[in-house]
Amino acid sequence: MTIAAPHRFTGGRRIDISQLIVWTIGGILLAIVLLGSILTLRAGHYTAAQWRDFVVFGIAQGAIYALIALGYTMVYGVLRMINFAHGEVFMSGAMTTFFLADYLNRSGFLKAHPWISLVAMLLFSGLVSMTVAVLVERIAYRPLRGAPRLVPLITAVGASFFLQYTFRGLFGSGVRAYPAIPVLQGKLWVFQKTQIAVFVGVLITLALLVLFLQRTRAGLAIRAVAEDREAAALMGVDVDRAIVTTFAVGGFMAGIAGVLYALVFVQVQFFMGFLPGIKAFTAAVLGGIGNLPGAAVGGLVLGVIESIGPSLFFDGYGIRAAHQLKDVIAFTILVLILIFRPTGLLGERLGGEERV
C-alpha cells in the first residue's frame, strides 16, 4: 500500500496539471466570448428587432440540422457508430426528388394541388433516402459489425464518397433549383412560411419518432438492441432487422429533411450533404448523442449560436468579416462539448453502456 500510494499520487497530479491547462484554455475562451458580447452590446449597433431576427434565422437553420441529427442520433444510439454517410443519405433524397418536383411543376400539378404534391415529394424523398440508407447498412456496415470501431467508420467515409460521386455522375455537378410551392410563399409574422413548415415538420417528425419508439413493437426492439444487443437477441429480437429498421427510419427522416431543406434553401447539389451532415452531427453531440429530443434541441441551439454568435461575440472586437468565423464557432462548440460535457446538454439516452 505504501509503495503504491505515492505513485498513484504523482499520476493523479499529472493528470490534474493537464486538466488544469485545459480548463484554463476553456476559461480564457469563455472570457473572450463574454467580453466580446459585452463590448458588442454596449456598442449598440444592433436593434432589438435585429437580435430577434438572428434568433429566428438560427431556428430555421437549426431545424434542418435537427432533422438530420435525429438520424445520426438513432444510428449512434443503436450501433454506437457514426454514420458518416448520413449527410449523403439526406442529399440523395433531395437530389432525386428534384426531378419529381420539376415534373410536377411542369405538368402544372404542383400549382393545382400543392399539398398533395408536397406530400408526394416528402414520401418519395423519404423512400429514396431510406433505400439508400438501408443499402449502405447492408453492404458497408453489416458485414463488419463487431469489428473494431475504426473499421465501420472508414467504410462510412468510403460510402460517403461513393454516394456523393455516384450522384454527381448520374445527375451532374450543376446546382438545381426546386420549384416554389405557392402556398408556402410569403411571411407569417417574422417567419417565412417555409421556415414554419420546416419547424412544424421537425416537431411532427420528432413526435412520430418518439411514439414509434415508445409504442410499437419495432420501437421496443430498437430500444432493446440499443441497450444490449445480445440480450435483445435472447429475447427473440431479430437484431439485424432492428438495425435495418433503425437505418430505414433514420434514412426516411433524412429524406424528409432533404425536401424541407429544399423548400427553404431552394438549391440542391451533389455536395450539399457534406456540411449539413457534419453540423448535424455536431448538433447531435451537443444535445447528447443517442438522445432524440437532445438532437432536436442541439440542432436549434447550434443554429441560433451560428446565427447570432459572429455578431455577438466578435463585433465588439471589430473583427473583419466576423460572419466568416461562424463555422469556427460551430466546431469550437463541438470540441468544447466533447471535452467538458461529452454527454451533451440533455445527457445521452436511447443507449446504455458507458462510452467515451
Partner: protein, 557 residues
C-alpha cells in the same frame, strides 16, 4: 443443389449487371471509351466491361471444385450480365433519359455493345463476349495452380502499360517507345511482347518462390552483409529516381513523399497508439503556413528567413500544435476523439481562410513566393531536386518510427492501443505517452507541410481540407495500420497511382470510396499488415461474423 447453384449464378450475374449499370450511368464507361489501351480496338472501357463479365463468371465459379461446374455456371452469370448491359443499351437508345441521367447517351449504348449498337448485332456481340469472358474466367481458374494467376497478372500488366503510355513513353528510349506504342496505347505487337515478357517474368517469379531458390541465392551472401547490401541497393534505386524519372514522375514522387511523411506521422498516433485523428491536416497546415509566413515577403512581418532556419521553427511550431490538440483530447477515445480532432482540423483551415487573420496569413489569397532551400550556391528548385530532400525526410521519419516502435515509448503506445485501462494499471503514464504520440506524430506532418509549401511555392486554404486528413487515414488503412511498409504502399497506391491517371480525376473519389469499403470488407488489415494487428483484426471480424452471421459472407443472400 442445381437450384441453389442456379440461384447463385443468377444473383451474381445480376449484381455484376447492376455494377455495370452503375459504372455506365455515372459516366465512367463512356469516359474510358476515349482511352485506347491496345491497338485501335481495345479501349479502357471495353477492358473494364470484359473484366466485369469475367469477374462475374469467376465469382460464380470459384465455389465449385472442377471445370465441369465452374465453366457453365460462370458462363451463365456472364451471359446474364451481358443481357443486363444490353438492356441498358436498349433503354438508353429508346427512352429519352438524358433530362435526368446525364450519361444516358446514344454514345453509351454504342460503348456498351462493343460498337454494335442497341440492335441484334449489338446483342450478338455482347452475348458472344459474355460467353468468351465466362469461358476464359472458368477456364483460367481450372488451369493448374500458377498459370491462371500468371496469365491474369501478365494481362493486367499489359493493360497498365497501355494505360500509362503518356507517362512511360517519354521515359523509355525512343526505339522502345516507338515499337511498344502506337498512336494511342500499345501497338498490337507491343502488347503481345509485353504480355509474353510479363508472363515469363511472373512464371519465373512464381517458380522461384515455389522452389525457394531465392533463399539459396541469398544464402550465398554472408548473413551479416545481406541486409546492408539489399538496403544499399534499394537506397541507390530510390536516390536515383530524379535521374531517370523526369519532371512529372519526380513531382508525383514528391507528393507521394509528402503523404508518406504524413502517413508515418499519423501512424504513430493511429497505428501505434490507436488514436484516430481525423484532423491530421491541421499539422500539415501549421507546417506549411509557418514556412510560408516565415519565408515569404508577402505577409506578416514582411521579413524573410532562410528556408533552413524556417524549417526547424516550423517543426517546433507543429510540435506545439500537437500538444495543444493532444491535451484536451487526452480523455477521449474512439469516435469522440475522431470527431474532436476533425473539428480541430476544420478550425485551422477556417482560421487561415479568414479575413480577420488575412494580414498575417494571407486569407483567401494565400501566400505566394515562399522560399526555396539552397545549399551553398545551389538552389533546390525543381521537383527533381526537391525529391532528394523529400526522400531524406522520409527516411529520417522511417528510421525514427522504427526506433520508436522498438522503444519503451513504443511499447507503451501499443499497450494503450490494446487496452487503455490495463496500460494505466501497468504503470504506463497515459498522459506522457499520448502527448508524445501527438507531438511526434504532428512533427512529421509539419515537416511534410513545410516541404510542401516550399515546393509548390504558394499555399491557399483550399489545400488543407478535410480530404487531406481522410487521405492520410486511407493511406494507413490500405497499407495496414501500424505497418511502416504499409504506409509506403498505401501512399503509392492512393496518391501515386491517381496522379498517374489524372485525367480520370473526376472518378477518383468514386473509386476511392469503393476501395475504402472493399478493403474493409475483404482485407481489413491492409495490404501489408503489421503482424500483431493482423491477427487481432481478423479475429475480430471473424468473431463478428460468428455472432451475427452475415449473409453476404456465407453467400446465402
Amino acid at each position: 443443389m442445381i437450384v441453389h447453384a442456379a440461384r447463385r449464378a443468377i444473383f451474381i450475374g445480376l449484381v455484376a449487371g447492376i455494377a455495370g449499370w452503375h459504372l455506365s450511368l455515372v459516366g465512367l464507361i463512356p469516359a474510358f471509351a476515349q482511352r485506347r489501351l491496345v491497338g485501335d480496338a481495345l479501349t479502357f472501357s471495353y477492358a473494364l466491361l470484359v473484366a466485369l463479365l469475367a469477374l462475374a463468371a469467376y465469382a460464380t465459379g470459384r465455389r465449385y471444385p472442377g471445370a465441369v461446374q465452374r465453366i457453365p455456371w460462370g458462363i451463365l452469370s456472364a451471359l446474364l450480365s451481358s443481357l443486363m448491359l444490353f438492356l441498358l443499351a436498349l433503354l438508353v437508345t429508346h427512352l429519352n433519359l438524358r433530362q435526368i441521367l446525364l450519361n444516358a447517351t446514344p454514345e453509351l449504348a454504342r460503348v456498351l455493345t462493343f460498337g454494335g449498337g442497341a440492335s441484334g448485332a449489338g446483342l450478338v456481340r455482347l452475348l458472344l463476349i459474355g460467353l468468351l469472358a465466362g469461358l476464359f474466367a472458368g477456364g483460367l481458374s481450372a488451369l493448374p495452380r500458377p498459370w491462371g494467376r500468371v496469365i491474369v497478372s501478365a494481362a493486367l500488366m499489359t493493360l497498365l502499360l497501355g494505360l500509362l503510355r503518356d507517362v512511360l513513353g517519354p521515359l523509355l528510349p525512343q526505339v522502345v517507345t516507338s515499337f511498344l506504342y502506337g498512336t494511342a496505347g500499345l501497338s498490337l505487337a507491343g502488347a503481345l511482347v509485353t504480355f509474353l515478357l510479363a508472363a515469363v517474368l511472373f512464371t519465373l517469379r512464381w517458380s522461384l518462390r515455389a522452389k525457394a531458390v531465392t533463399a539459396r541465392a541469398t544464402a550465398a551472401v554472408p548473413a551479416t552483409l545481406r541486409q546492408p547490401v539489399t538496403q544499399a541497393l534499394l537506397l541507390l534505386i530510390l536516390a536515383s529516381v530524379p535521374l531517370w524519372a523526369g519532371l512529372f514522375l519526380s513531382n508525383v514522387a514528391d507528393f507521394v513523399g509528402f503523404y508518406i511523411l504524413m502517413g508515418l506521422g499519423l501512424n504513430l498516433v493511429l497505428g501505434f497508439a490507436g488514436l484516430l485523428d481525423l484532423g491530421y491536416v491541421a499539422f500539415f497546415a501549421v507546417g506549411a503556413y509557418t514556412m510560408a509566413v516565415l519565408t515569404s515577403p508577402e505577409v506578416g512581418q514582411r521579413f524573410t528567413l532562410d528556408f533552413w532556419i524556417a524549417l526547424p521553427i516550423a517543426i517546433v511550431t507543429t510540435v506545439l500544435a500537437g500538444l495543444l490538440v493532444g491535451l484536451p483530447v487526452l480523455r477521449m477515445r474512439g469516435d469522440y476523439l475522431a470527431i474532436a480532432t476533425l473539428g480541430f482540423g476544420e478550425i485551422v483551415r477556417l482560421l487561415v481562410l479568414s479575413d480577420w487573420l488575412k494580414p498575417y496569413l494571407g486569407g483567401a489569397q494565400g501566400v505566394t513566393r515562399i522560399g526555396r532551400p539552397s545549399i551553398a550556391s545551389w538552389r533546390i528548385d525543381s521537383p527533381q531536386e526537391f525529391y532528394l530532400l523529400v526522400l531524406l525526410s522520409c527516411l529520417f521519419a522511417w528510421f525514427l518510427s522504427v526506433r520508436l516502435r522498438d522503444s519503451r515509448l513504443g511499447r507503451s503506445w501499443f499497450a494503450i492501443r490494446e487496452d487503455e485501462h490495463v496500460a494505466q494499471a501497468m504503470g504506463i503514464n497515459r498522459v506522457t505517452a499520448k502527448l508524445s504520440a501527438f507531438a511526434i506524430g504532428a512533427s512529421f506532418g509539419g515537416l511534410s507541410g513545410a516541404l510542401f509549401a516550399s515546393l509548390v511555392g504558394s499555399v491557399v486554404p483550399a489545400s488543407f481540407s478535410l480530404l487531406v486528413s481522410i487521405n492520410v487515414v486511407a493511406v494507413l488503412v490500405l497499407g495496414g495500420m501500424g505497418s511502416l511498409p504499409g504506409v509506403v504502399v498505401g501512399a503509392l497506391a492512393l496518391v501515386g497511382l491517381p496522379e498517374l491517371l489524372r485525367e480520370f480525376q473526376e472518378y477518383r473519389l468514386l473509386v476511392y470510396g469503393i476501395v475504402l469499403i472493399a478493403m474493409m470488407l475483404f482485407r481489413p488489415a491492409g495490404l501489408l499488415p503489421e503482424r500483431i494487428h493482423r491477427r487481432e483484426l481478423e479475429e475480430a471480424v471473424e468473431e463478428a461474423r460468428e455472432i451475427a452471421p452475415a449473409e453476404i459472407a456465407t453467400g446465402r443472400g
